[in-house]
Amino acid sequence: MNVQVEPAKLKAKDFASDQEVRWCPGCGDYAILKAVQVALANMGAQPDNTVFVSGIGCAARFPYYMATYGFHTIHGRAPAVASGVKIANPDLDVWVVSGDGDSLSIGGNHLLHILRRNVDVQFLLFNNEIYGLTKGQYSPTSGLGQKSPSTPQGSIDAPVDACTFALGCNARFVARGIDIQAKELGHVFTRARDHKGASFVEIIQNCIVFNDDAFAHFTEKSIAKNSQIIVKHGEKLIYGAASDKGIRVKPGAFELEAVTIGENGITEDDILVHDETNRVLAGLLVAMKPPEMPVALGVIYCDPATPYEQAVKAQVEASVAANGVGDLDVLLRKGSTWTVS
């Protein structure tokens, strides 16, 4: 669609709109916004060809702050709108920005379908485990017992894990990052954009007002390195401040366990190598929870398949190839007709 003549190398600020950002001071969304803008500049993305689509919620204000095309839609329905955009024009670079309430509660159905259809969009789910814009009610990712204005005695809803849900929907790309880890996020965004098909990225995001420090148990600086593992395809699942911890298959069981290299006779050879095309391994990795296990970050699963909109286009092209470009005057006269003279 869009003829680009030797695009000038853009900077992150070229992706920032002139609108004043209106998130709460200290919100994790600022860091994510910046990371997206930096990543787009580094990837050589063109604002004219980029579309951000969002639903409703704090995260959903994202498109207004991007100097790209943007569509702030209605609660939970961003995946459906984005699917329509992509079907109508597969050449556009489409990003969906959403929150845990938007895409796992009211919009859970649409997230399921955009993932299983494999529409080529980057789906960023900002997970802060709370409803921010409506002032602090518990969300579908809030833990059991979470107190909030609507759960004064604590939540009794079992939470959903975003990445486990995505894998269950047959997503072909599942990654996870943390708002404050700009460099790693940038890497994940680049991989997500390069991936042809639906790319699902969960971003752990701190809500400073209604759910501050919800993730401190694995993001707090002093414990972070021992509570997180950044997975890399083809590399051993080793982590820790001293790079002495690893993930292995527990002997005699179909589960993972965290071990320390050099203890109990464990060597590096015992540690699993990450295979991002292995869906079963991905399922085990995304389910790891501290304190027993580290939280898995990075590209956890990537196994490309034909994107939906390409298959749609192929059917249209096949129909034209087989039948020629349709002539309405012929169509209206197809079948049984009669002439009155």
Binding site: A67, Y69, G84, A88, L92, G324, L328, L332, S336, T339
Partner: protein, 628 residues
């Protein structure tokens, strides 16, 4: 274009006597089990009737269940056709002939037959078991139940088995030929040949297949049964003379077909590709089926995960520069409501087809009604005006489909297109138009960067510019939050919200200048009584008014196609009549709607039985209000 709407020819009955129904026409209803092939039978008969230059209208009436238990009343499927030597405007009030293929079909339908009408029964199906299943305690053939009618009992089952004996088919397959045997007999009754149906059957099953041969044998046997006068004077062959149709090429068309093709034509005239997004629902699904076969016409179809996603993906497609269209029926439309508000707020073109059915909630999925007027004109949060159009007959759907796309793209607005279950399934002859008769209305997308503002407006139409994402230098953001006039940036300014609300209203109101003035279909402008209708009630109202005019009554017919905005002259026009009667298939929605627009006294003839209005009831309603 549409013969049914053209009262200029052949629809005036002779003399000045009051007619209760048409004279130069015949109404036949076929009824049987939903597995008896009644709809196929009816469709074939309609096709043969059309080719024989009779005017016609059909009314398929089938149960919501796909295959209800055999022999039960709730599994009865029916197909009614009215045909004649003058222009036919409805599928008929009361059948002159009922063909009942089992006791349940008789039970459900016999009371509709006109007194003295003919009932053809498959005697072979009147077993004790079937009678019981149909809820007859006593055999109705012997207890006087059918005393008001002529009956013709034929053991169609046995005759069909006999005719198909030479072929290698199972008894079950053979019995499925009952509909063909019946069709053969009816063809004989109305002097039609079996050739076209033979060709159809051969094409469907393969000319050499035993099933095809058995079906054709049954068809010929039914025809021969009539020919060889085995019916002993109970029925006579009737020749219905030709209608003088205007010259040209014709076809039969259902509302779903004409509507689908009209939308394609509209997109062609606008120079746009269509992205059609829909979720299966009765009776709207045929549009999805038809369009999904037209991918070489610039049509992409998307079966979304639900009604909301269907509307939202259509909006996304329009945002990306295609003509986004979605279709559904009542409950599905209710689900789309929030998304339609988004299209109104972001001022994107969108066409929403509502094939109305009886409600509320699930209601009667396969039965017709026009009770979504409030939903479409008023049923959204906020002040959310949009265009609402309605189709009046199957063929008319083509014209309304084009008009919906024209208004949506010219004014950057969603447009509701109301059809209903009757129009969608019914068929009528159609003088096939030529695309060169239509004036194109090409869309021009904004590409000029100088002075661009996403919510600037065209001076005349008040439409905002349509920009395709991907256009260099025009990046911008839109959304459902209130926008600043011009820039489109988020604005919570009170004055701005007032201004934007006024602008959105003025834009839609202004469309009244771009639509035809309200015409009087029949009768004079001004007088004692006008009957006002909309949608699929056109036929019965038009015929009833024509008959009453012939009877010397001072009555007129006004049919409203543009439900919102209303034609500029409508209210004044209504004021020229002493009495206004709204006839509609709901509990008074147009009635209430018009009362909200005028202080004139208006009353209504209202019906919600899931069945179309009849000519007779409209005539009675007219007679109750005006005398000679």
């Amino acid at each position: 274009m549409n013969l049914q709407t053209d009262p200029s020819k052949g629809d005036t009955p002779d003399g000045g006597q009051i007619l209760d129904t048409d004279t130069d026409s015949i109404v036949v209803r076929f009824a049987g089990d939903s597995g008896d092939g009644v709809q196929l039978l009816g469709g074939q008969f309609a096709q043969a009737t059309a080719v024989d230059h009779n005017s016609l209208a059909t009314f398929p009436d089938f149960p919501a269940e796909i295959r209800a238990p055999i022999g039960t009343t709730y599994g009865v499927s029916a197909f009614q056709i009215k045909f004649g030597s003058r222009m036919i405007k409805t599928s008929g009030d009361s059948p002159d002939v009922l063909v009942a293929l089992n006791p349940a079909a008789l039970k459900v339908n016999y009371k509709d037959v006109r007194v003295g009408g003919l009932i053809v029964l498959d005697a072979g199906s009147f077993t004790e078991r079937n009678l019981k299943k149909a809820g007859f305690e006593v055999d109705p053939r012997g207890d006087g139940t059918l005393g008001e009618y002529r009956t013709l009992e034929i053991d169609i089952s046995a005759l069909t088995l006999e005719a198909t004996k030479p072929f290698d088919v199972t008894q079950k397959e053979a019995l499925r030929g009952k509909n063909m045997w019946t069709l053969g007999l009816i063809y004989w009754m109305y002097d039609r040949t079996t050739a076209a149906t033979e060709k159809f059957v051969a094409g469907k099953f393969g000319a050499d297949s035993p099933v095809a041969q058995a079906n054709i044998a049954a068809l010929k046997a039914g025809h021969a049964y009539g020919e060889t006068a085995e019916v002993s004077g109970d029925i006579q062959q009737t020749r219905v003379s030709d209608v003088e149709f205007p010259a040209g090429e014709y076809r039969l068309v259902t509302g779903a077909e004409a509507l689908s093709w009209g939308l394609v034509a509209g997109c062609r005239l606008a120079g746009l590709d269509m992205t059609f997004c829909s979720y299966p629902i009765t009776p709207s699904s045929p549009i999805l089926h038809i369009l999904s076969k037209l991918k070489n016409f610039g049509v992409t179809t998307f079966q979304a995960e639900d009604e909301i996603a269907a509307a939202c993906s259509a909006i996304g497609a329009s945002y990306a520069g295609n003509m986004g269209i979605t279709a559904s029926s009542g409950p599905g439309i209710a689900l789309k409501t929030e998304a339609i508000g988004l299209a109104i707020s972001t001022e994107l073109p969108l066409v929403i087809v509502n094939t109305q059915r009886a409600g509320p909630s699930t209601g009667l999925p396969t039965k017709t009604e026009q009770s979504d007027l409030f939903l479409t004109v008023w049923g959204r949060n906020g002040d959310a005006p949009m265009v609402v159009l309605s189709a009046q007959s199957p063929a008319d759907c083509f014209e309304v489909g084009i008009e919906a796309v024209r208004l949506a793209t010219k004014y950057m607005t969603p447009v509701f297109l109301l059809s209903d279950g009757y129009i969608a399934n019914a068929a009528e002859p159609w003088l096939i138009p030529s695309m060169s008769d239509y004036e194109p209305f090409p869309v021009s997308f904004r590409s000029e960067t100088e002075g661009f503002q996403p919510f600037s407006r065209d001076d005349e139409t008040l439409a905002r510019p349509w920009v395709k994402p991907g256009t260099p230098g025009l990046t911008h953001r839109i959304g459902g939050i209130e926008k600043a006039d011009g820039s489109g940036n988020i604005s919570y300014d009170p004055e701005n919200h007032q201004r934007m609300t006024d602008l959105r209203t003025a834009k839609i109101d202004g469309i009244a200048k771009d639509i035809p003035k309200q015409a009087v279909e029949l009768g004079n402008e001004g007088g004692k009584l006008v009957v006002v209708g909309w949608g699929s009630t056109f036929g019965p109202i038009n015929r009833a008014v024509a008959n009453m005019l012939d009877a010397g009554l001072d009555v007129a017919h006004i049919h409203i196609r543009n439900l919102w905005p209303l034609p500029q002259n409508l209210i004044e026009l209504l004021g020229s009549y002493e009495k206004v009667l709204v006839a509609e298939m709901n509990n008074g929605q147009m009635l209430t709607f018009l009362r909200s627009q005028t202080r004139q006294d208006i009353d209504g003839h209202l019906k919600v039985t899931g069945q179309p209005l009849t000519i007779r009831e409209v005539q009675d309603a007219i007679r109750a209000r005006v005398q000679n």
